[in-house]
Symmetry: C2
Subunit: 302 residues, 2 copies
């Protein structure tokens, strides 16, 4: 099974009350790829500048990602800089330097157009649409977006929403997109826009799946320590899509594999905040993963 991801490959400067890390590997496609844990063939489409270190691309490749779709062009790589508050949830963006990402025009290599699973990470909805058009009918397409696109490109966002199977958003975005306060109503309204399934991410409060025949609430695993939560949402998406790819699910499957994928997304994402950048994800091994899955199931069984 192959998963194609289109998103940012970037550097993040992250300040917390304890430590500041400058220009560490970040970006939605980076977190997503590593979170698939080499379990599927992951194809990355993105762009970096000439400042991007080869060792960072090598790291992605060493974790099973095919990085031949990450184009290197003249200029600076996308750089995000932010500072977390004491609660390690709220954060202030200090700088967003788009660099070469500003002119990103994703090109899908011919041999990748038949990829079975497609994850459209948080980029301009017109670029997401452009990518989907280039594909030869993926088995399943999931999409992430953000408040910026909800506010500035609502029509483009509506167009691409009409063509995808799963939307992943956070609770604030679900409400903003639909104008509905109740998440039940928001999910219903989103499903009327196109996606048959909606995932509402709530950070430390877990995530909700609004499926075709059921609703599932998955709590977040309670962490002893949060070092850097950046990338947890994309790590969730990576674990979620890996799980679907391994089960072979498609859009006509019942909710069963999607419910399992919610657990895999949650377990995967739980490792992310335990280290800066992708470090928490790099420490995942089978035993640690299975232990957390057991913890999660134990927290859920009614």
């Amino acid at each position: 099974m192959s998963i194609l991801v289109v998103g940012s490959v970037a550097y993040d400067t992250v300040a917390t009350t304890r430590e500041t890390r400058e220009r560490q590997l970040g970006g939605s496609a980076s977190f997503f790829s590593i979170a698939t844990l080499g379990a599927a063939e992951v194809r990355c489409v993105g762009v970096v500048g000439d400042d991007f270190k080869q060792e960072d691309l090598d790291l992605l490749a060493s974790r099973g990602a095919d990085v031949s779709g990450i184009k290197r062009v003249a200029g600076k790589s996308f750089h995000w800089s932010g500072r977390y508050h004491d609660d390690m949830i709220e954060r202030d963006t200090l700088a967003t330097e788009l660099g070469v990402f500003a002119d990103f025009q994703p090109e899908i290599p011919e041999s990748w157009r038949g990829s079975e699973y497609l994850f459209l990470a948080n980029i301009h909805p017109s670029l997401q649409a452009h990518v989907l058009e280039a594909m030869s009918g993926p088995r399943l397409t999931a999409l992430d977006t953000m408040n910026l696109w909800i506010e500035t490109t609502p029509n483009e966002l509506r167009t691409i929403l009409g063509k995808v199977d799963v939307l992943l958003v956070n609770d604030g975005e679900a409400r903003q997109l639909t104008g509905k306060r109740s998440l039940a109503h928001a999910a219903e309204a989103i499903r009327a826009m196109g996606p048959t399934r909606v995932i509402v991410k709530k950070g430390e409060h877990g995530a909700l799946l609004f499926g075709t025949e059921s609703v599932l609430a998955v709590p977040a695993i309670i962490l002893d320590d949060v070092v850097d939560p950046t990338g947890a949402g994309d790590s969730f998406a990576g674990g979620f899509m890996r799980s679907l790819a391994l089960s072979g699910a498609d859009r006509s499957s019942d909710d069963t594999p999607y419910r399992q994928a919610m657990l895999d997304g949650t377990v995967t994402a739980s490792f992310c905040p335990e280290g800066f950048s992708v470090e928490g994800l790099l420490g995942i091994d089978d035993a640690g993963y299975q232990k957390r899955m057991n913890t999660l199931r134990g927290m859920m069984v009614p």
Copy 2:
């Protein structure tokens, strides 16, 4: 089985963006009592002023509460007034008029001292201690508290915490009480203070049970409409204690009845925000209750 509750019996003036309701029945003991659904003998200890309407006491009695422990004295009943924000979560307190509640000295009738279950709702920790001392060793004692007592009477709070079995707090209070950001660490610290089990309430994000041998995360039921969330926490407590009383659980039971009680607390509390005052709770019937319990279980099964 008998449950004794000590708390406020009050009037609330609640403003929402849609409607304002003045001086409607409120108070922790009121919500708690009605939430027990007449399934156990509930004994209320509280105080009201001479402005308190007999019909409100009659309402509590008609729902199975023994209100003979609610003393009527000269003066005004406790009156709280608040305004909810658009999100129906954040609220501003506009007025807190303690009235006769300021001099409340709970007196436990002799025949009630052997009550099996004791719920010490959110009142001054010295009064909570006074009540517990008057009892002849309840099978189980649960306690609620708030930021005010954590800040102003930390020593008195510590004393009573050393003598109760279950603490119910919200996530902010758990962190404030312990100085721990991680809820796992906060629960551990609270258990070191005395309670063998800790329940962390998170409103629309559900509730966590830190039990003696397990952790359970229960999501909140997703509501179509929130009319007035006042009293949901005390309604949770009422459903929780009812469940324990019906199962006959005591402090030495394993986590099984406590896990079930978390579900009963959640289902019960879910009705509260659907109406002003206790109106949502008054509408609970067996079929509606069972339907929500099935919904909740469906949302949880991993």
